[in-house]
Symmetry: C2
Subunit: 398 residues, 2 copies
């Protein structure tokens, strides 16, 4: 058989590509602190499995292609409480935020069309675009100004007739940036001026540690442009459920993605039962989780500050931090650490930074760290990272 150019052009996930090295380290008896993947160690609210255990339908049957009505109603209620008013018809349940993004790309992009992103950005955005022979067009941002956006004029230079959407992760993955009101206004104006979709990936909405947060869903002037991407994965520490949603008030968008939704029939029945129950989780759960992550953010920030030559911004949201490391090549360093380094038989894994750039020549000495472990484990992991740096042959501060 002859494989497509399409699939051969895809990249391996920077978050998962080093897993074989981690597996080998574990097989050799090492403990690995996973800072590579945004898999929280927070307990999933027990409501999830409690609702599922009570589920007693005799047949695990196909559901509605738009999702289980009870779950859709729960999602609607969650947004109502935030003063965002969506009709039942606006909400499509998806197989995680990933499928929500895939549906958005399907609906928007023909071959060679472009989606504007702000670099560094979530690596799988490239996969979702390239799968459809579309492209991400990356506007650079940098650690120096905390990964905040450049001016409208600069962003505008990256918009062409091929541009179909601006894709914004807010709070940001991998940067932890939370956009200001002024930045959101800039993006909104550009979406309106160029008739672009504004894909708002807000799966980390509940994880903001400093200052205000506003959702793109609260800007009525953008009602026809915003495509909201959401998920229970991070919010309720239920990444394995693979339940997300895509929401839009644009009726033509909804009409078109219904065909895609019907093609894959429906989302998983039992997980939808659990997900609907998650939305009944008391507000105190999210407050506690938020407090815990703020503590972790502070812990990793102060631990990183002790490492010479390590530069990072101060993330205000989500649970990632991008760091510049004093090494020749962060991927080589990551592999070397898993293969050759341990303290008391413990080592650390992180995601090489260049996977979060459209040009892999950028971010070569950067890494994304996910602070999804409890504070003491984070301290330990960053300590090991610091010692590994000094021992690594490609350390540049020698």
């Amino acid at each position: 058989m002859r494989l497509s150019k399409r699939v051969q052009a895809l990249s391996t996930s920077p978050i998962r590509k080093l897993t074989p090295y981690a597996d080998a380290a574990k097989a050799a008896g090492k403990k690995v602190y996973h800072l590579n993947i945004g898999q929280p160690d927070i307990i999933t609210p027990p409501q999830y499995m409690e609702a599922i255990r009570k589920y007693d339908a005799p047949v695990i049957a196909y559901g509605n292609s738009k999702g289980d009505p009870k779950l859709i109603k729960a999602i609607q209620g969650y947004y109502e409480a935030k003063d965002m008013h969506y009709a039942i018809e606006d909400i499509f349940v998806t197989n995680g935020g990933s499928e929500a993004l895939t549906m958005a790309v399907t609906a928007l992009c023909d071959e060679d069309d472009e989606i504007l992103v702000f670099e560094p950005f979530y690596a799988n955005y490239t996969t979702f675009a390239k799968t459809f022979n579309a492209k991400v067009k990356a506007v650079p941002t940098s650690v120096e100004n905390g990964y905040h956006l450049p001016s409208a004029e600069v962003i505008e230079q990256y918009i062409s007739a091929k541009t179909k959407a601006i894709l914004v992760t807010n709070p940001g993955n991998p940067t932890g940036v939370v956009y200001s009101e002024a930045e959101m206004q800039i993006l909104g104006s550009l979406a309106l001026k160029y008739d672009l979709a504004l894909i708002a990936d807000e799966v980390y909405r509940e994880f903001v540690y400093d200052g205000a947060y506003r959702s793109f869903g609260t800007m009525p002037e953008l009602d026809q442009n915003v495509i909201m991407i959401d998920s229970v994965s991070k919010r309720f520490s239920a990444c394995g459920a693979r339940i997300g949603c895509v929401i839009s008030k644009n009726k033509e968008f909804s009409k078109q993605i219904m065909k895609v939704a019907q093609g894959r029939l429906c989302s998983p029945a039992v997980e939808m039962v659990g997900a609907a129950a998650l939305y009944d989780t008391p507000a105190s759960y999210l407050e506690e989780v938020n407090k815990e992550y703020k503590k972790r953010r502070d812990t990793i920030a102060s631990a990183l500050a002790k490492l010479p030559g390590v530069k990072s911004s101060e993330p205000q949201g989500a649970f990632y931090v991008m760091v510049q490391l004093p090494v020749d090549d962060a991927e080589k360093f990551a592999i070397w650490t898993l293969e050759n380094f341990a303290i008391d038989n413990e080592t650390v894994m992180f995601a090489p930074g260049n996977g979060f750039y459209s040009d892999p020549a950028r971010g070569v000495n950067e890494a994304r760290l996910a602070y999804v472990l409890k504070a003491e484990d984070l301290e330990r992991a960053i300590y090991i990272l610091g010692e590994a740096l000094k021992a690594y042959p490609g350390y540049t501060l020698k």
Copy 2:
């Protein structure tokens, strides 16, 4: 926002497009016999929910992108028992057979590439191809010879330099055809001669009522060509679980689809726990189910034989039958029946046939009937269908 030509070119599922009419009929108090969708009324083996109820992981976490190891092992064991020997690395768990097919198209097709299918065929194949700007190229088959294949020479005329795969549903949906050894040899030879993938959609493998059945997975000469599509949906009456798999011994194919699998992270965690348990279902379950469907097949066949002007083949497998109806237009008839016809407040829904053809001008007076209801309900449904025919203004035997 401007939507893609890609999404606008997709069709609505013929199996689900008339759902609003059925909903309206139900809202008006009518009972609707659903012959439109392959949703069996067979009880899902209780092992599914039993295993899930025992699942007590504190965090519903991301899993391996290839699928839960226990489930993969169970799938491997299922095939071992059928003398098909797959390595763990050959098996990828997917979100239903639908995602398995989507991954295959991603891996094989660039824009304008073609996938050979035999018409009439499962409507969503068109959706999966068009989503990637690829095409299905349909080789006609007909009710007159039971939807069996034409000769190698005829099939060959449909193969071009753009052809990347032959996609075979065996047993067939919507036709119920089961291919003979000779037909399989023809397809295998063509795959080898033209270096094509042979995508074997065998989700109805356990539903064969007459004669022998052979899987494409038992033809060692095709090891590098076969891409096996499978699912728990029909086999274990667990359509809502959305657990399928794609299997290939072609290492390059597996290497490439790993990138696609990583992009969407993983399959749903809890459903995978249930699916693994389904593979422990005793053989007697499948034997009973097979017996039940054979009875239903015989019931619908004899009920249809009583209706003047209705022509159908004798399906040997799966649980569908394509019928030619004495009407002007089967879709109009389907809508008319839902809106205007009932006996004792009961009516019937079926899938218009033209959705199963690449050219919707074909199959206009055909319909797909899914015999997924118990025999007495099927008899009743076909009786209603017969009476509806006579009452329908577009009945051609008047």
